[in-house]
Amino acid sequence: MIRIQTRYRRRAFSLEVDSASEGPVLGIFGRSGSGKTTLLHILAGLIRPDEVLLEVQGELLARRPGGRWSAPEQRRLALVPQDPLLFPHLSIRANLTFAPGAAEELESPRGQRLIEILRLGALLERSPSALSGGERQRVALGRAWLARPRMLLCDEPAASLDPELSREVLALFLEAKRELGLPMVFVTHRAAELLALADDCLVLEQGKVIAQGTPLEVLAKPKAVGVAQLVGVDNLLRLEVESHDEAGGVTLMGLGEGLRLATPLCAHPVGTSRQVGLYAEDLILCRERPAATSARNALPARITSTDPIGHEIVVTLQLGREQVRARITPSAASELGLSGGQEVVVLIKTTACHHLSG
């Protein structure tokens, strides 16, 4: 459905993509500077590389060399840019109705719904300079949406939206996909968005595709360098509250196999289970239990695996019945002489354990 083939050089950076995806929604994932925006601009026709082939829903939009090239306005691939780039001399309403036909679209029930979801109703007569950052981003989204494009190109459309709004925007995308079959290429840094929305995804690293496939496939192979870094390897545990120690200011939570994690005192009733967040860098590994430590938690664990990822090493540990990950430097790893199956002691400060709601 979306076929992209291109090769483009720009000074130190070169982009090379060859991808064909079946589903209508293609997600692009990749660290900062990996070429995501560049790719979207090539698709939109704003950059004119020497080698490009672009086919959307069976329609050939560009083939070079080969002479076929359509101008941006002929492609009707509306862009939601990373900077919102609203037209500063036009009111929000005029921005939204900028594209040909957008005025009628805005008046339609679908358009009105969009305005409601994006919470733009009260802002229509304002000037773009009188909007907050998130409001601007929403207008850019609505503007592209109302252009009734052949396909939407979204560059991090939810980056500066609060979680609630970005969830609603996501729901909007989902609906558009289901009901309108609107094809989309979108850039995101959030795995959840990819999972929920994309039929296919593309992971870029320094201009090259390093992983490609359905989001589940791609995200389930986090060991592919880069993907793991992008997805994040922090720990989110659901633990049962075992007891409160009000004097000590801690709440003990069960890790299974008799192990307990001391966390900051909380009010959750004993017996209920709660999510606790732990940053991988807050876990300290030792070969033996240290004589004295300020860390309330010094827990025995077994190393399941060690994975060098980028410039650091991710150590996966079995801690009670939970699996947790720690991130350490290669030098620390070689000092400790870590290996799979080895028994270590994990130190965790009480304050490094964050109770999360939900």
């Binding site: 939109a44 306005e73 509306a78 594209a99 494009p149």
Partner: protein
């Protein structure tokens, strides 16, 4: 004010308005071209456009006369075509003032267009508006303060133009005598200071009107936006 003076004023206004109307489109396009054009030829083109500013206006007048005068190829071709001469007519007034004021218009437009973010034009294209549409809806309005300033400058310059006009169009009563030429004539008539002051005051007045008109036009756009 005498009927003669009124005639002079009417002619001046006609000429100045015609100058702006005539140079607007070429000035806009050339200013835009010079703002975005990366080529090394740009400096040359800009230099040529700026020529009338450097040359003493009288010299500009003579150059134009050589170019379109009655004995020049262009002048003769024009005569063959229309049965009219260019030199020493109202058309010559317009031509002289337009050429002299053109660099001001072009430079104002060019500088204003430099300030327009090209990414806005890209977004407009991606939203389905072609290059012309984008120019009219995005580039032009964003450069409007400069474009209007350019128009006011060239209007004002046309109202004040003397040197090139007297050479190319002459100072013929009722035909090519505009305010500056009339002022020049009156300066040679002792005791006509009042008329000189009157005429220059009127030409200043019309420039101010043009200026305020431009302001009003800009404000209107801003107010429409701000009222939300």
């Amino acid at each position: 004010m005498s009927a003669e003076e009124l005639g002079v004023i009417r002619l001046s206004l006609q000429v100045a308005l015609a100058v702006v109307a005539l140079s607007f489109l070429p000035g806009l396009l050339l200013g835009r071209l010079l703002a975005r054009w990366g080529s090394r030829w740009r400096a040359l083109v800009q230099g040529v456009v700026m020529l009338p500013l450097v040359l003493p206006p009288v010299v500009t007048g003579y150059l134009l006369l050589h170019l379109v005068g009655r004995s020049s190829p262009i002048g003769r071709a024009w005569y063959a075509l229309t049965g009219e001469h260019i030199a020493y007519t109202q058309g010559a007034c317009v031509l002289a003032a337009a050429v002299v004021g053109f660099p001001l218009l072009v430079e104002s437009v060019r500088i204003a267009m430099l300030g327009v973010d090209p990414r806005l034009e890209q977004v407009s294209r991606s939203l389905g508006r072609g290059p012309l549409d984008t120019f009219v809806r995005i580039t032009l309005p964003l450069a409007l303060p400069g474009v209007l300033a350019g128009c006011v400058l060239s209007f004002a310059r046309a109202l004040g133009e003397f040197g090139a006009t007297i050479v190319l169009a002459g100072n013929i009563e009722g035909e090519t005598r505009q305010i500056p030429l009339a002022v020049h004539t009156l300066l040679n008539v002792p005791g006509s200071e009042a008329a000189v002051v009157r005429l220059t005051a009127i030409s200043v007045f019309f420039s101010l009107v043009a200026l305020l008109g431009a302001f009003w036009f800009l404000r209107r756009g801003e107010r429409r936006l701000a009222s939300g």
